[in-house]
Amino acid sequence: MHEVLLKRSSIRVTCRRGALIGPQRHHRGVTAITLLCTIVVGASAGAAPPQLLLERYCFSCHDRETAEAGLNLEGLTAVADRPSSLQLWEAVFDRVERLEMPPADAEQPTPEERAVFLSLLEVDLRTESLARQAREGRGPVRRLTRTEYENTINDLLSIKVSVRNLFPDDAVTAGFDKVGEGLTMSASHFEGYQAAADKAVTEAMAAIPFKPLSYSLDGVGVYKTRSDNFKSFGSVVENDLFLLTSRLFYPYTAILSPWAPRGGRYRVRVTAQARNNDGKPVPIGFGVHSHWLYKPDAPELSDWRDIPEDAPRTVTVDIDLMTEQQVHAFGPTLWQRDYVAPKYRKGEAWDKSTLAISQFEVEGPIRADGTLEKWPPESYRVLFDDLPLELLSKVTGKQPASGGHDPRVPVSKNAREDAARLVRRFLPKAFRRPVPDGLVAEYVGRAHTALEVGVPFHEAMRDTYKAILCSPHFLLLQETPGPLDSHAIASRMAYFLWNGPPDDHLLAAADRGDLTSPEGRHAQVERMLADPRAVRFERSFTDQWLDLQRIEATSPDDKLYPEFDDALRLSCLEETRLFFHELLSRDLSLLEGIQSDWTFLNEPLAALYGLSEMRGHELHRAALPADSRRGGFLTQASILKVTADGANTSPILRGKWVTERILGVAPPAPPEDVAEIEPDIRGAITIREQLAKHRSTEACASCHKVIDPPGFALESFDVIGGWRDHYRVPHSTGAVVEIPRIKRRVHRGPAVEHGYFMPDGRPFADVNEYKRFLLEDPDGLATALAAKLLAYATGVPVQFADREDIAEIVTQIRGKGYGVRSLVHAVVESRPFLHK
């Protein structure tokens, strides 16, 4: 043991071999900061021990008195059992490693000094982080998120109900709603769990018999469903064809299916041909219609297809409906805004673009195997197997209230045995693991007790199933510190790749022990990614990682961006989702997420991007011209929109977004004493001028050096993702910007400067050159995405000890061209994924 005593403000710094940080000590009645640190004397000639380095290079700002940016390294007593101080030391490590600290204008350590400091701190941070993980696991035991909960009861019971709104919003921690630290539980959760379980079990018992929907109409048949409405708005019948006109009169001119008899997946099939559209296809849109009273600005639209002019086309779309919802289909001015759409007076003939519909079919609910659901449905068999159903009036001997339904309920000749058998069968699926006899007995006992006091069989079982769905074994993901058992691995894989519970196959694989081998896991991951449920992962991950969930958070200013409409909003979202799906399904390089020579486009996107004209609204993968500034996520309209406001863009917000989400670096919050930059869109002063003033402060400069380059690289794009050479302003300047697609013009403001400087001072002329700089560090980009996926997959943000594992993941996928699917496999094989 080597001990150095330093006197500074009566503080003792004790160093000993083993750890730079460690338990706090009290020394001779004085609270000492006890930096217990590894000193390898003479390891590097002339290098000073870390505490001397801290004192020499850091304390002039970060000592007890000054505590610049609120950081008092002198007082940071590095207490091992306080996670917060570990996090601070991690931040110290990162900023010193990235050469951000000490700041440029302060005295700099020699490269050797920096290296020694970092290597010692690294060893200690890792040791401490690993020790904590071994004790407690990487993160706390966590409950299901409300999305996971909803998917779980729907998958488990083979039903489709919406229950997420019965719970408070889940807190988002470190970018993801899955992070356990934020998933607290309150009384409102338990009230919600009961209400949700009640709703789910009721739906699953399907007490009212239903017939599946199998609906098929020809053109005349469609017209007859609501001929008065249709006629008033120019939608008429010609020969056998129904001519569908504008959606602007929604919902009068929408085709509506009958109400869904039951929640589930419905298949819509339409045969139609377009007319009067200058040879271009006309889109037909599909969505969910819930109630007549509410007339939104735009109908809900979940999918759309192009109908060509030259020949009829049959299109098929699957839509999820809850009970008492309808499919609506509409066109052809699907998304046009009022001033673009043709003018029409009620009762007039419609001579604009039209959809001539010859067939309209809806059927469902459709089961996973593609067949039509029948009564009693699959969900009934999950809960009651093959037990017969009987009219409730016969069970109770009481007639239902007049006009009321007489529901059918399960009955049993051997109620006790059946109760035991059904509960025993259901529990392992509900709890996602084998269930010990004691716990089975608890629930069987619950059912038996009810039966003994005369509760009818169906009521006793309903109550028992509800109780099971409120159990902590159902609500919590059960993991114990150390390596996960195979059932915990199954759940992790399922909530990662399906955002829902493991299915029978996966549970069976866990039972067999398949999931303890890399080959077994690999096979399951491949199977799971090929399953339709994988869409939930793609949606949920991109919604959160790329912030796509904010796509409607602000609506672009009508006056400044008149070309923004629903077509663009939905198309840009679709572009990003398809793009991610393409990376994942084809194992394309994650570097294509920075720069690609292809993307997914349709007519409105191609127009927004200034590309040659495309026809139709369906998105297709398309090659981009060599000089295009598109390709990769950063320059997709969706990303540029979610990082902007309705009228303003801010290089600060966009820069922060890119550094956090793409580069994987979280810039600290701005110091509190710095004056705000108040946006000024009048055009007299540019954001660059405002920021230049701002950056002259040293406190600001160290972070802005990092966040400004991406911010200014993206400043070339407006709030809806269009390229701009000039800002748009709300008042006349004598100059205008033309918007050819909609033949409108807006006032032109000052010119936009396109280039900027990288943190190291190298200039870039535009976003393409900026992207090339980013691609110089493929490992860094891979590290960032791996960290996001790992946090999402495990519900725990990356900790210091995980850095080595992430480096390992990156090494593995480097050999596989940085493929995104390979990355998913590597995450599943990583130590953090396979340990609590």
Binding site: K466, C470, G646, E678
Partner: protein, 426 residues
């Protein structure tokens, strides 16, 4: 006691009645149970918190002159009928607060560090309404209400940093407050609550078992869960005891439908009416009402969405648009105060017995600053001062006003959140 649903009035008529023309039975006759005696001379104290999240255009709002004789401003002229019944504070804010996502702190007044990362808001603490409900909420059908639409933000928080969900459908709130179920529905409800409690017993038992094989950190979390289970049981027990007590008869038809979000005037009016009726019938004594919409309201001359107009970037036409919205909101608020003042409560008015705070977490939304918040304190029997001017550079903590409000509500505590003292001008 049933509300007559046979002849539903048009909403316009209903709202009109609700505001002025409604012939109310003597208030005491409607007070259930224990409340009646207490209310005979001194009605219970109540709290209404109104939250908005887009600030208010300061140059149009704040006068320069302090005191009751403040010079009226473009905005304050809408509150002229209630001069003397409220105090507008300037120079008040939560220290260090900054930007949107300061919503969670508006009524919790925790240190900014605890919530400044939008991703770590579970470090938030109890909000004023919940804190007060713990003390005033025992005797009424509802411990408190968290209502309003259509804002997505959470202003009401439990002590463990869990947001309390907002009920966003006025029709449902109205039904829960005033419309009795059929005897069969009541029986089922009681049954459901009993089953609920027995399920919770089992959950608690299992949580205890589980925590035996967990590490200390996870045990702490299970303890929290255990606490939440107990809290739920108490809530179910309370509901059970009220389930068979008829709801107050208010002789007002239920609103036929939820007003659309864009229908700002009807929507806010309906919420204000529900607040007043809930207090008047002593169904609850603590209400947090969230108002405001970032979308586009249907108002004469308005073409911008509220969020866009509030982020005006100093553009004058946008500021004028913003003023259309804010003036409408203040006029609604003023009508609410008047309507509360028209209800007699013992020897005072309902307004006198209700501490009303109307606040926003943003000062200037265009700059995203949280200084110089628009803070109206109304009713509650305060010695109102019209306009109280604090230092606009070095703001006084809003929590100091919360402490003053607690005192007025009979809660003798000298701290709340990050308070540093108590505001004593009112």
């Amino acid at each position: 006691m049933r509300v007559n649903l046979r002849t539903p009035l048009s909403r316009r008529l209903l709202l009109k009645q609700g505001a002025v023309a409604l012939a109310l039975p003597a208030l005491n006759a409607m007070l259930p149970r224990a409340a009646t005696a207490a209310a005979a001379s001194h009605g219970p104290m109540r709290l209404v918190l109104i939250a908005r999240n887009l600030g208010m255009h300061a140059p149009f709002l704040f006068p320069e002159t302090p005191g009751l004789a403040y010079e009226s401003t473009r905005y304050l002229r809408h509150l002229e009928p209630n001069r003397g019944r409220f105090t507008l504070f300037s120079g008040i804010s939560h220290p260090h607060y900054h930007n949107h996502h300061s919503e969670p702190g508006l009524f919790t007044a925790v240190h900014w560090d605890r919530i400044k990362e939008p991703t770590r808001q579970h470090h938030n603490s109890i909000s004023l309404d919940q804190h007060v409900a713990d003390r005033l909420g025992a005797d009424t059908r509802f411990r408190n209400l968290v209502i309003g639409s259509p804002v997505q933000w959470h202003f009401s928080w439990s002590a463990k940093g869990v947001p309390v969900p907002t009920e966003r459908q006025p029709t449902k709130v109205f039904q829960r407050l005033f419309i009795d179920g059929s005897p069969e529905e009541v029986r089922k409800e009681v049954e459901r609550l009993k089953t609920g409690r027995s399920i919770l017993d089992q959950v608690a038992e299992q949580a205890r078992d589980l925590s035996r094989w967990l590490g200390p950190e996870d045990r702490r979390r299970l303890d929290l869960m255990f606490g939440a289970v107990r809290e739920t049981e108490q809530a179910l027990l309370r509901n059970e005891s009220w389930a068979t007590t008829p709801k107050p008869n208010i002789a007002v038809a239920a609103p036929p439908a939820d007003p659309a979000n864009e229908n700002l005037i009807d929507r806010e009016k309906l919420w204000f009416d529900i607040v007043r009726l809930a207090l008047q019938t002593d169904s609850t004594r603590v209400i947090l009402l969230t108002m405001g919409d970032s979308g586009r309201a249907k108002l004469d001359g308005l073409t911008l969405a509220h969020h866009d107009a509030s982020h005006h970037g100093k553009d004058e036409t946008k500021i004028e648009q913003l003023a259309i919205i804010e003036e409408t909101e203040l006029a609604q608020f003023s009508r609410f105060l008047s309507s509360m003042d028209e209800v007699q409560d013992g020897n005072a008015t309902l307004l006198d017995r209700t501490v009303v705070l109307n606040a926003s977490n943003l000062g200037n939304a265009s700059a995203h600053t949280c200084k110089n918040l628009p803070i109206f304190l109304a009713g509650g029997g305060f010695d109102h001062q019209g306009h109280v001017l604090h230092d606009r550079e070095n703001n006084t903590p809003l929590a100091n006003l919360f402490v003053r409000m607690l005192h007025q509500l009979g809660v003798e505590e000298d701290r709340f959140g990050e308070s540093t003292g108590v505001i004593d001008e009112v």
